[in-house]
């Protein structure tokens, strides 16, 4: 998505701010996958294409979700029915707007936090860049590896 003139002006004032740089705008994006409903609003709002709404859904995301989350309710029902582990990702029909896997490209992320503002489930958190080392390590520990998929 091309930047407007005003956007380029703002980006030029950000230290080290190029569109493709990892630390462009600088917020740290923490994704709480267990709250995500898979609607893809973050992908629709993302200016750099770092979030992408997938055409498939990994069934393990339902089974791994905690029971008190929205996906966990469906996963709990599925767990009672399942006869073997899921075969793999299932293709999602066009009109099923939730239950999609959101692909997150860490290297494209500007850290602008647009995804966090637009998230209806409050599953994405943008932490400001001036946070010192201690909170950032805590948040890295809070986000398991699977969230970066």
């Amino acid at each position: 998505m091309p930047l407007t003139h005003r956007g380029r002006e703002i980006l030029s004032r950000v230290p080290g701010g190029t569109l493709q740089s990892t630390v462009g705008v600088g917020c740290e994006i923490v994704r709480h996958e267990e709250l995500c409903v898979g609607c893809g609003k973050c992908a629709a709002n993302c200016p750099s294409g770092a979030s992408e709404r997938g055409d498939f859904f990994d069934v393990n995301q339902l089974l791994d979700a905690p029971a008190d989350s929205r996906r966990g309710a469906l996963g709990g029902a599925l767990r009672r029915l399942m006869r073997h582990e899921p075969d793999g990702p299932v293709e999602v029909p066009e009109r099923v707007t939730v239950y999609r896997t959101i692909i997150y490209h860490d290297e494209k992320c500007l850290g602008c936090g647009t995804c966090a503002r637009g998230c209806p489930a409050e599953a994405i958190e943008a932490r400001p860049p001036q946070a010192d080392a201690a909170p950032s390590t805590a948040s890295a520990a809070a986000a398991p590896e699977g969230l970066r998929a």
Binding site: L62, G72, A73, R80, M82, P93, R95
Partner: protein, 167 residues
């Protein structure tokens, strides 16, 4: 009625099929067929919904997990939804649930979608009998009690607020 229900052994009568029927077409057709005293298979339970677009994957899977052997969604003819495109949503959601079931080894035929207009009671009866024939031909749906947590009936909107409060 010469369907499978009358010839199958007594265990077939224990099967349960839940039919989500839209108010405008399928339930009206069911009503008309009942007025004509057409017998329906004893396995089927009708659930009235305003539109099949209201039926979510959570409804369909919960019904199977809570004791039904099959679930069917009956709506208006494609393109004739009274809310314009609710039944297109339902078609895709049913297809999604079928794929979910298939990926964990459950027969996808246990969840099916049928369409009919309000003026076609025989088509509704035929759809229910077809579903009954399919479900009675399958073994009872096994479910494990250990894995899942039982959800309250109206918990469709509750988990999000609960999770938000915890976060």
């Amino acid at each position: 009625m010469a369907g499978a229900a009358s010839t199958a052994p007594a265990s077939a009568a224990d099967r349960k099929i839940v039919a989500f029927c839209c108010r405008e077409c399928a339930y009206a057709a069911a009503d008309a067929s009942a007025n004509a005293r057409t017998p329906l298979p004893p396995t089927v339970r009708l659930v009235l919904v305003p539109c099949t677009g209201r039926v979510s994957p959570l409804h369909l899977l919960s019904v199977l997990a809570e004791g039904a052997d099959g679930v069917m969604v009956a709506g208006c003819l494609l393109g004739q939804c009274h809310y314009r495109e609710g039944n297109f949503n339902a078609v895709d959601r049913v297809a999604f649930v079928q794929r979910l079931l298939k990926s964990v080894g459950v027969e996808p035929e246990r969840c099916q979608m049928f369409t009919m207009s309000a003026g076609e009671p025989p088509k509704f009866v035929a759809a229910v009998r077809e579903m009954d024939r399919v479900i009675c031909g399958l073994p009872p749906l096994p479910r494990s009690e250990a894995g899942g947590t039982r959800q309250a009936p109206l918990a469709v909107d509750a988990p999000l607020t609960a999770a938000r409060g915890a976060a």
